[in-house]
Each structure stands twice: as structure tokens, then as C-alpha cells.
Amino acid sequence: MNPRRKQRLMAVSAILLLLSGAVGAMLYALNENVDLFYTPSQLLNGLGEDKVKPVPGQRLRIGGMVVPGSVKRDDSSLKVSFALADTGPTVTVHYDGILPDLFREGQGIVAQGTLIDATNIQATEVLAKHDEEYMPPEVAEAVKGIKHVAPKYTYPAAADASATSGAATTETKQADKPATATEGGSQ
């Protein structure tokens, strides 16, 4: 083999080696960091056709509506717990920290955390959204079985507004604003 070809072969095999290593590491890291999303009923009844239930200690995300009247705060610390529900059963989320500005009873939230036992979750992060009618898309799909479509525009002051609003939406998002109205744990 002439030296130039040899060099090329070396280069190509080096690239292949690096590439496979990189892809392997990437996929491994990806699998390590996947958090499945559950709604309260999915958490209790199992997810999907196989009815897979998470095991205690597993990291997961849970989304639902905060049950009105269920928010309990500790008197001397920032510990708080609240019940979360979608269509039927409720689960309890425990959290130690500051709830997001938009956290409100009766509103949809998503919590990231680990499962303590079948109906209790220790949250590391609670996320809420900047919209009165907002429901996390996953919750909306799970609750209604439909995709979350744009709500019709409603005017705050005008009387017969919905009839004239046409296709306008309440989209208030600025397109490339990095992160919107979510709050949660530290970096």
C-alpha cells in the first residue's frame, strides 16, 4: 500500500472508531436521561397496552390539574404538598421549594421527580405555564383524547366577540423567547 493510501485508511478508521464511540455514548446517555411522562391515572393503572407501572425510586414526569383545596403548606419551611388529578384517581406531589408564579389550584402543572410509592411523588421541579386556560399538552390529550387546539380568541371587554374573532388565536408567544414562564429547581 502506498503511504498516502495508508494514511487515508488510518484516517477513515479513526473517524469510524470515533463516530461509533460518540454515537454509542450518546445513545447510552440518552437512555439514562429519559423521563417518561404519566398522568395520575396512568401512574395508578399503568401506561400503554402493557399497563407498565413505574417502580418506586424511578424518575418520571407527572402532569395533571392541581386539585382545589389540596395544597398543604408546612408552617415553618417551604415544604408543600398537593394532590394532582386528571380524570379519576389522585396522587400526591411533595415538593420542597418555591412554587412557580403561575402555580394555582385547579390549573395544569407538570412535576419532575421520583416516585416514592404508588401514589406519592417527591418533586424536584414543578412547572406551570403562562396561560389561564393552559393544560399541558400531554394532559389535554390524556384527559380529552384530543390534541390541544388553539382556543378561540375572547375579548376581555367586547360583548359579542367570539362571533367575530374568526381564526385568531390567543397565541401570545414571542417566537424565540428562550424559556417561558416556567419555574423550578436550580441548575
Binding site: 494514511q7 460518540a22 455514548a25 450518546m26 446517555a29 440518552l30 439514562e32 436521561n33 429519559v34 423521563d35 417518561l36 411522562f37 401506561l47 414526569r61 403548606r73 417551604l78 420542597d96 421549594g97 418555591i98 408564579d101 403561575l102 407538570v110 405555564k129 403562562h130 396561560d131 393552559y134 399541558p136 399538552p137 400531554e138 388553539a150 382556543p151 380568541y153 375579548y155 376581555p156 371587554a157 367586547a158 360583548a159 359579542d160 366577540a161 367575530t164 374573532s165 374568526g166 385568531a168 388565536t169 390567543t170 397565541e171 401570545t172 408567544k173 414571542q174 417566537a175 424565540d176 423567547k177 428562550p178 424559556a179 414562564a181 416556567t182 419555574e183 423550578g184 436550580s186 441548575q187
Partner: protein, 664 residues
């Protein structure tokens, strides 16, 4: 009336963009010089009309014309005038119009500042830009009209701008970011024009380089501003969240950085040609993908918004058309292109190739992490989210070898480099970096084998090596002081950008490792201690703003018995949007930030407070600014400012080229 003028202008702009997409292209095939010469006035007219449309929209916002649906949903009469103006790009429709205007601005700039280009090339570039304009103006006109009226029933008051967007960041961040995003359309147009012409040489790279630099400069600034804004406005002291929307802007940045470096090789050595073209296509495609991800709502994220699926479909179709079309053209043309330059294994070419490999791997990581949840869901495997650790971990592994190579890169010559002459200066640089990093950490913080040490070492290595290299180059150019003035502006630019990267790495590592964060419950008079700083809550009182109410907290900060500063944190309630916003109090110094955010009121009365001490967090943005400054310096390099050829000469050249082609 004014909104109708805006609407009409947008329609004119659409017509002009259609002409711009067709006429110069026709000229480039038929050799009609007149058709080619028409490109410039068309491009300028396109900008004038889309600029008028944007101005009309701003006027409607400024005068609170609530008959326009867009104004009614995103503004209110109580809003300060500067936010009324910026609210014009606060919504999907308005931001799309801003996007169009900036795209037209770039097109006009290319038309104005490309006099040194051959007529054919100029016509093709502007034709491609025109085609992109057609796609986006049509989207704005037909799918998301910003001027739509709600007559005869219109509201007397608007719904107000999303309080998150009522910030100084909103005034500068979106325009800068868009200028960057859209700027890659110019690199793309250069690449496509070259593909059509089938001619690649170092002159082509020299033309494309300043435009790419300019786009990259603005994208860098835009991303950094966004990060700084999120830090101040979201009330949780983070500066990067690996949010899909952020990732959407980060991917074009990474590929754009790779493109800049690859363009350098193409310009100086005439090689890496096909690779450069591919990167130019990729950078713009990722910009488009970002627009698609952000505006279609396909991503399962708490940040995604209820949106119109047909809009997403349109953008996806446009994205596929652009990517598919350009790759097809690439496949047709690129096999004919051969790079003739040869280089050894240890040469600057290979090191820059390494730079590209790492940057593209990083892009792949971000791409995978952003889109994997989407695929997972579409395949019916359930909703998932990818945790931050995925990105952090992989970037950790990527940054180490990348920084080591980066410190080495500028020292190595093109074509081939012998190792021995480099050993002495590099050992010196390495020793200096070691002393600096370890010395600093030992003197000020606790020295431990952690991320902070690693970051400081890598940062010091890159920074020292950049400074050392400039010093050595200056020596070679005739002594210390003389050499410094003789160095090219682009060389200074590179050095500054590399130092910026070093500063950024130090900032990230130090903040990640040494930040102290505490969520506490405080009564008035309570004191909390963090890293030697004593924060005392002195007062909480009701707040009365122009369009908001809420609470404000006053804190005194002491360190070693001495008063450091007074902090004023707010929690605002915006009644029109019924939302609560946190205005954090930040006391910034180069070496650390004190950060306090007021949380909710608890029984007692006491308040939940976030109290953070974040060392070196300013360095992150400082690094970004230095990188952008580096790009600016490189942009000012003399070699990009060549005397333009006279039109008559170019016309003769073009005619000659076509006649030659016919005879041949």
C-alpha cells in the same frame, strides 16, 4: 387605513419577491444582462415595501388600534410606548413580519454591497434570496396575517403584552436573534449560487465569509442576550435550560461556527469545498427547522404553545423543499468538484477539520436531545422528556478535547507543521495556564479536583495560548510594538473570539460548581447567610406600577460586617393578563452575582425567597460578547473591502462569458 397600507405593502413585497426569484434566474440562464441588472432594484424595492409593512404594524401598535386583532391580543393602552412598539413583534404574526423584514433587509444589503461580485453570481444569489422571501412572505400573508381586522365588533381595550415580554430584553433580543438566524440565508444563497454556477474557488469563500461572519456575530449576541434575559426575568437564576426553543437557536450557531472555520480553510487553501457548501446549507436548514419547531408547536414541552397545525405543515413543507432541493442540487454538482490541495496529518487543515467534527457532534447531541421526545411520541411509545443531564454530560465530554485542540490550533501552520518548533512555546503556555488556574483557585476558592478546576485549566490553556500566539506572531512581524500594528484585523478577531470562548468556559465551570443556592422562608428582620454574605429582609410592601401591582421586598446585604449592597426584588401582578412575574434583584460583579427573587407570601406573614450567590456568572455573557467582538474585528479586515468593479465592465464580462459559452 394605516393597517391597510401595511397589508398592501406586504402584497407588493410579495410580488417583488416573486419577480426577484424569477427574473435574475432567467437572466443567469439566458444571459440577459438586463434581467440580471434588475436584481438590485428589485431587492431594494422588496426591502422598502416590507419595511413599510413593519412600520405600519408598529404604527398600529403605537396608536393602540384595537380593531387589528394582533394589536388587541398583544397590547393595551396602559402599556408604555416602547413596549407597545416592541409588542409588534411579540406575537407569532408580528414576529413573522419582523422575520420577513429582516430577510428583506439582508437581501437589500447583499444587493448594495456585492458590487465586487460578477453580475451572474450576484443575480443568482439575489434570486435565491428572493425565493426564500417568497416562501416567508407568502406564509405571513396567507397563514398568519398580522394586519387582520376584527371589524365591526372590536374591543375597547387590548389583552396586554405577555408580562414576560415587558422587559428591555424584548426590545433588543428578538431583532438581534433574527438578524442572526436569517443572516445564514445569505450564506445559503452564496452556496446555492455557487452550486448553480458550478464554480468554487477561494474568491467565492472570500465573498461568503464576511456575510457568514456578520450573521454569526448577531446570532451570538442574540443568544447571549436571551440567556441574560432569562436569567433576570424568569426568577430562577439559570442562564441556559436546554429548552427546545433555546436549542433551536443553538444548533444553527454550532453549525455556523463550524462553517466559519471551514470557510477559512476554503479561502486560504482552496480545499474543504464541498464540505463548506454542505455546512452553509445545514446552517440555514437548521435555522428553518428552528422556525418550524418554535412555531408549529410539535414539540412536547411546557414551553410549547397551542398553535395552528396548518402553519406547522406549511413551514415543514418549505423546510423540506429547501433541504431537499439544495441537497439534490448538491448531489448533481458536487461530484465534479475536487479539492487539489494536499496537507499532512499535523497541519492546520486537520485541526480545523477536528474543530468541525466536534462542533457537528455537539449539534447532533442537541438535535437528538431536542427531537428524540418528538419521535418517541410519534412512534406511539409515550411522552418522554430528555433531562438536562444528558446535554450537560455530553457537552462536558465534548468541550475537553475541543478546548485542547483549540489551544493548539492557531499555532499550527497550513499544509504541514513540524512538532519540535512548537514544543517550547506550547510547554510555556501549558505551564503558565497551570500556574494561573491552580494559583487562582488556591488563592481565592478551595482547590479541589472538580469541574471548576477543569474549567479554569481549559480556559487558561485556551486563553494563554491565544495570547501567546499573538505575541509570537507579532515578534515575527518585526518586533513587539510594530508587529502588533501589522497584524491583520482578522487575526485579532480570531484571537479575541478564542479568548471569549476561554472566558465562557471558565464562567460556565465556575458557576456550575461554586454557585450556592438557597430557597428559604423569611420573615421581616430575618437574616440568611450564604457564602459569607448576610442577607437581611428589611421590608416588604405593596407595589403600584403603570399596568401592574404586586409586592416588593427590600434586603440589605452585609459581608464581614460591612454593607455590600441594597437589593430590591419585586413580584408583579399584571391584572389584564392575570399573571404574576418575578423581577429578581441582582447585584453584579465580575467575580460573582448576588441574586434574590421574591416568592409567594406564606402564613406568618413570611415570604418564600430565593437567595443565590453565583460566582463568575457574568463571564458567560462576557465570553459571548468577546466572541461577537472578535467576529466584528474579523469583519473589518481590509481584504473584504475591495474596490467594486464598474457596472459596464461587469456587463461586458458577463456578455463575454455567455458568448464564449455559446461558441464553445
Amino acid at each position: 387605513m394605516i393597517p391597510e397600507i401595511g397589508q398592501l405593502s406586504l402584497i407588493f413585497a410579495f410580488a417583488l419577491s416573486c419577480l426577484l426569484a424569477l427574473v435574475p434566474m432567467y437572466g443567469s440562464y439566458s444571459g440577459s444582462v438586463r434581467a440580471l441588472l434588475l436584481a438590485k432594484p428589485l431587492a431594494i424595492g422588496l426591502f422598502l415595501f416590507s419595511g413599510t409593512a413593519m412600520a405600519c404594524l408598529m404604527y398600529a401598535f403605537y396608536h393602540s388600534d384595537f380593531t387589528v386583532i394582533n394589536v388587541a391580543s398583544n397590547s393595551s393602552s396602559m402599556l408604555p410606548w416602547y413596549f407597545q412598539l416592541t409588542a409588534s413583534f411579540g406575537s407569532h404574526e408580528g414576529s413573522m413580519l419582523l422575520w420577513v423584514t429582516i430577510l428583506a433587509l439582508w437581501t437589500a444589503l447583499v444587493a448594495l454591497f456585492s458590487n465586487s461580485l460578477p453580475l451572474l453570481m450576484q443575480g443568482r444569489i439575489l434570486g435565491v434570496m428572493g425565493f426564500i422571501c417568497v416562501g416567508f412572505i407568502a406564509f405571513s400573508l396567507f397563514m398568519s396575517n398580522p394586519f387582520e381586522r376584527s371589524l365591526p365588533f372590536f374591543p375597547v381595550e387590548g389583552r396586554d403584552l405577555n408580562p414576560l415580554l415587558q422587559d428591555f430584553g424584548m426590545i433588543v433580543h428578538p431583532p438581534l436573534l433574527y438578524v442572526g438566524y436569517v443572516g445564514f440565508a445569505v450564506s445559503f444563497a452564496f452556496a446555492i449560487a455557487a452550486l448553480i454556477g458550478g464554480k468554487f474557488d477561494s474568491t467565492w469563500a472570500r465573498w461568503a465569509r464576511p456575510w457568514t461572519l456578520a450573521a454569526w456575530l448577531f446570532l451570538t449576541l442574540g443568544i447571549m442576550l436571551g440567556s441574560w434575559w432569562a436569567y433576570n426575568e424568569l426568577g430562577w437564576g439559570g442562564w441556559w435550560f436546554w429548552d427546545p426553543v433555546e436549542n433551536a437557536s443553538f444548533m444553527p450557531w454550532l453549525v455556523g461556527t463550524a462553517l466559519l472555520h471551514s470557510l477559512a480553510v476554503t479561502e486560504k487553501r482552496g480545499t474543504f469545498k464541498s464540505w463548506t457548501v454542505l455546512l452553509a446549507i445545514a446552517a440555514f436548514s437548521l435555522s428553518l427547522m428552528g422556525a418550524f419547531l418554535v412555531r408549529s408547536g410539535v414539540l412536547v414541552s411546557v414551553h410549547s404553545f397551542a398553535s395552528d397545525p396548518s402553519r406547522g405543515l406549511y413551514l415543514l413543507a418549505f423546510l423540506l423543499l429547501v433541504v431537499g432541493g439544495s441537497l439534490f442540487l448538491y448531489a448533481l454538482r458536487m461530484n465534479a468538484v475536487r479539492s487539489q490541495a494536499r496537507y499532512q496529518l499535523f497541519s492546520r487543515e486537520v485541526l480545523l477539520w477536528g474543530n468541525n467534527v466536534f462542533l457537528l457532534t455537539a449539534t447532533l447531541v442537541v438535535f437528538l436531545g431536542t427531537l428524540y421526545p418528538l419521535f418517541h411520541k410519534e412512534l406511539g411509545l409515550g411522552s418522554i422528556s430528555i433531562g438536562e443531564p444528558f446535554f450537560n454530560q455530553l457537552f462536558y465530554y465534548l468541550v475537553i478535547p475541543f478546548s485542547l485542540l483549540l489551544g493548539l490550533g492557531p499555532w499550527v501552520r497550513w499544509k504541514q507543521q513540524q512538532l519540535p518548533p512548537l514544543l517550547k512555546p506550547l510547554t510555556l503556555v501549558a505551564l503558565l495556564a497551570l500556574t494561573l488556574a491552580i494559583g487562582y483557585l488556591a488563592a481565592t476558592q478551595s482547590l479541589a479536583a472538580n469541574l471548576a478546576l477543569l474549567g479554569c485549566l481549559l480556559g487558561a490553556w485556551v486563553g494563554m495560548s491565544a495570547i501567546g500566539e499573538v505575541y509570537q506572531r507579532a515578534q515575527q512581524l518585526g518586533g513587539f510594538s510594530l508587529g502588533f500594528t501589522r497584524l491583520q484585523a482578522s487575526h485579532w478577531g480570531m484571537t479575541l473570539a478564542h479568548i471569549g470562548f476561554a472566558v465562557l468556559v471558565v464562567g460556565v465551570a465556575m458557576t456550575k460548581t461554586l454557585s450556592v443556592e438557597k430557597d428559604v422562608r423569611m420573615k421581616i428582620g430575618d437574616t440568611v447567610e450564604l457564602n459569607g454574605y448576610h442577607f437581611t429582609l428589611t421590608d416588604v410592601y405593596a407595589l403600584n406600577g403603570p399596568n401592574y401591582g404586586g409586592q416588593a421586598a427590600e434586603l440589605e446585604v452585609f459581608s464581614n460586617g460591612e454593607k455590600v449592597t441594597h437589593l430590591h426584588a419585586e413580584k408583579r401582578f399584571y391584572p389584564l393578563q392575570k399573571t404574576v412575574m418575578t423581577e429578581a434583584a441582582v447585584h453584579a460583579r465580575l467575580s460573582r452575582d448576588l441574586y434574590v427573587a421574591l416568592g409567594e407570601e406564606l402564613s406568618g406573614p413570611s415570604w418564600a425567597m430565593r437567595v443565590y450567590v453565583k460566582p463568575f456568572v457574568r463571564w458567560i455573557w462576557l465570553g459571548g460578547v468577546l466572541m461577537a467582538l472578535g467576529a466584528l474585528l474579523a469583519l473589518l479586515d481590509k481584504r473584504y473591502r475591495r474596490a467594486p468593479a464598474h457596472v459596464d465592465v461587469k456587463v461586458r464580462e458577463t456578455t463575454a462569458a455567455f458568448n464564449g459559452a455559446e461558441h464553445a
